[in-house]
């Protein structure tokens, strides 16, 4: 998939005839200090998009521009046929007047209001009478399973309950787009699992577009239909979770999804790497190419291995890292790419692996995935 939506949204051409109701079309440009944000993003109605990226990549900035809390320097934001931001035309719709809901990182439930009044806040602020707003809020609390807690203050809720209240509060205003900033980050691992699948379900039922910021690939994979990876203010990858997991385009994504990734130029069934070394691959890609292979497909040996693996070289262990049931070993070699290999603890003992140990690396061409870079 092309990392940018292309001419779809160039600010000059614009695209006033954006069709699908609830379609978000955003062309974001802004500078904060030395940080520059340059992101093009389109979210069709009903789609849940995860915005994945390292700290400081600009994920929260993207959400804040979409919510109207930050102004664009240039570019444009449209929701359906409505222009929310267009600095060139001096258009900026205030956050309160956008149909955009937001779930903040630590939820920001109003501490002085009950759970019910927190959820009723949006409908009230948008002009509903107190009773109507409360009825609406009650219905939402039912939906997220918090009817019992309606009269409690947020301080008495667990982390997972707060997250659900925050979601109900954002959805109770019937937004066309809901933004979620690290909605699971504040939760402990045990709660996270359940809350994550609930969140996925609610976002699917909600029907509008959703944009979810996270730095956890599992959250992104489970909750989102599509993953947009942001690095240093730019989109570096955009695709379905499966695509991203299989064919990472940057070192950061590769690390997230646990793959070795190397960049080079393909010719026949070899790829000459930019950083030095040659990899044998099973498919043919001509020109700029990326090669990905899982650490589990890499085997380590004390002596030069016999067999059919075409990628074989000698190197030195530079680091070991204990994972759940495997040990991830880093191997470096002159004139060859650095490689991660997953081996069993038994193998570590058998091969007497330690930092500085000499070791042979091998993996098959058929275990690699090569794709245009």
């Amino acid at each position: 998939m092309n990392p940018t939506p292309g001419p779809l949204l160039s600010p000059a051409a614009g695209r006033p005839e954006v069709t699908a109701d609830g379609d978000l079309a955003a062309y974001l440009r802004l500078t904060r200090g030395t940080f520059r944000l340059e992101v093009d993003l389109q979210v069709p109605a009903g789609q849940v998009v995860a915005l994945l990226g390292p700290n400081g990549a600009g994920k929260t900035t993207v959400l804040h521009t979409l919510a109207g809390l930050l102004r664009l320097r240039s570019g444009r934001i449209m929701l359906g046929s409505r222009v929310l931001d267009d600095p060139a035309a001096a258009t900026h719709v205030a956050p309160a007047r956008r149909e955009v809901g937001m779930v903040f990182q630590d939820y920001l439930l109003f501490p002085h209001l009950t759970v019910l009044d927190n959820v009723a806040f949006g409908p009230r602020a948008r002009g509903a009478r107190r009773r109507v707003a409360r009825d609406e809020a009650s219905a939402w609390l039912d939906r997220v399973g918090l009817r019992e807690q309606a009269g409690s203050l947020p301080a008495r809720l667990s982390g997972g309950q707060r997250q659900r209240v925050a979601l109900a509060r954002a959805l109770a205003t019937h937004p066309r787009l809901v933004l979620l900033d690290e909605p699971l980050a504040a939760l402990d691992a045990a709660t996270r699992l359940g809350v994550r699948s609930d969140l996925a379900r609610h976002l699917r039922e909600f029907g509008g577009s959703a944009l979810l910021v996270t730095h956890d690939p599992i959250d992104a994979m489970v909750v989102a239909d599509r993953i947009v990876v942001l690095e240093d203010g730019r989109v570096v990858q955009d695709g379905t979770p499966a695509e991203v997991a299989r064919a990472p385009r940057t070192e950061y994504v590769a690390r997230l999804v646990g793959l070795n990734l190397h960049r080079g130029r393909g010719s026949g069934e070899t790829v000459t790497l930019d950083a030095g070394g040659v990899l044998h691959v099973a498919d043919q890609v001509e020109g700029a190419a990326l090669v990905a292979f899982p650490p589990t497909s890499v085997t380590l040996h004390r002596r030069r291995p016999e067999g059919s693996a075409r990628n074989v070289w000698a190197g030195q262990v530079t680091g070991l890292e204990q994972h759940a049931h495997t040990v991830r070993v880093q191997v470096a070699a002159p004139r060859h790419p650095p490689v991660l290999a997953d081996v069993t603890p038994a193998a570590v003992a058998e091969l007497d692996l330690a930092a500085g140990a000499a070791v042979w690396v091998s993996f098959k061409a058929t275990d690699t995935h090569v794709y245009p870079g």
Binding site: A96, R97, F104, L108, F110, P111, H112, F121, L153, R169
Partner: protein
């Protein structure tokens, strides 16, 4: 390490009150308290301090909001100016009010010429003098609370559809309510004890401008024992009011 100075500090604050209590002519208490002017002065004190606090809330909370939120240059200078009444001797404050609002004052002369209104020697002048001296206490307390408050709650309210006013009323104000009530209590206490500015600006006339501190001071000229009784009464009423207010507003305890 800290206990000794803490104990000394407490003694320093309490011993003068003890001295006052020891010297109180308990036997003549009833006689002194039933002197006609006493209840009048007490009522005037409570009413004017209450009104002054109200005035400070109406003007001081928005002012604190501007100081805490406005991203304009000069806020620092503005903040320094707001605290001027704290360092100004109250008598000078009263004189300044007189020069501004007196019937020959900068503004007062026009009021007098146009409406025949002259503020000095009226209860309104008492309220103004008290508010002038007490407002910084409120502003500083509320500004501190506003600065300490998480502004992202206001962002959250905005994304929920709340305009500035709704956000201020339903989110910002409740969040800083403890700060406001603490400020109001300080403000009321300061107004209740106000002496110098009131005397200078408002004058001293029973029932109109003679608040308890003025009554105490004047009584001191002729009858120190009666003055002690009045001072004690003022002290007692202040403590009762402040404890009641604190219990009601601050003691509620928001997280």
């Amino acid at each position: 390490m800290l206990l000794l100075p803490a104990a000394l500090g407490l003694l320093f604050l309490l011993l003068p009150l003890v001295a006052l209590l020891v010297r109180t002519p308990w036997g003549d208490l009833g006689a002194h308290l039933s002197t006609p002017g006493v209840l009048q002065a007490l009522r005037l004190s409570l009413v004017s301090a209450g009104l002054a606090t109200l005035l400070c809330l109406l003007l001081g909370v928005p002012l604190a909001w501007v100081l805490a939120r406005a991203e304009v240059p000069g806020t620092r200078l503005l903040r320094a100016l707001v605290t001027v009444p704290l360092v100004l001797p109250p008598v000078v404050g009263g004189l300044a009010l007189l020069l501004l609002l007196g019937r020959r004052g900068l503004v007062g002369q026009h009021l007098y010429a146009a409406f025949g209104v002259s503020l000095p020697f009226t209860t309104a002048a008492v309220v103004l003098a008290e508010a002038f001296v007490a407002m910084p206490f409120l502003v500083i307390a509320v500004e501190g609370a506003l600065r300490g408050a998480d502004r992202r709650y206001e962002d959250a309210a905005a994304t929920l559809g709340a305009g500035r006013w709704t956000t201020f009323r339903r989110v910002t104000l409740p969040l800083v309510a403890p700060g406001i009530s603490a400020g109001a209590v300080l403000c009321f206490a300061r107004a209740l004890g106000e002496f110098g500015a009131t005397l200078t600006f408002a004058g001293n006339f029973p029932g109109v401008t003679r608040t308890m501190p003025l009554a105490v001071y004047l009584t001191l000229e002729s009858d120190p024992e009666a003055a002690i009784v009045l001072a004690l009464l003022l002290l007692l009423v202040s403590v009762v009011v402040l404890v009641a207010l604190r219990g009601r507003w601050v003691g509620g305890g928001t997280p």
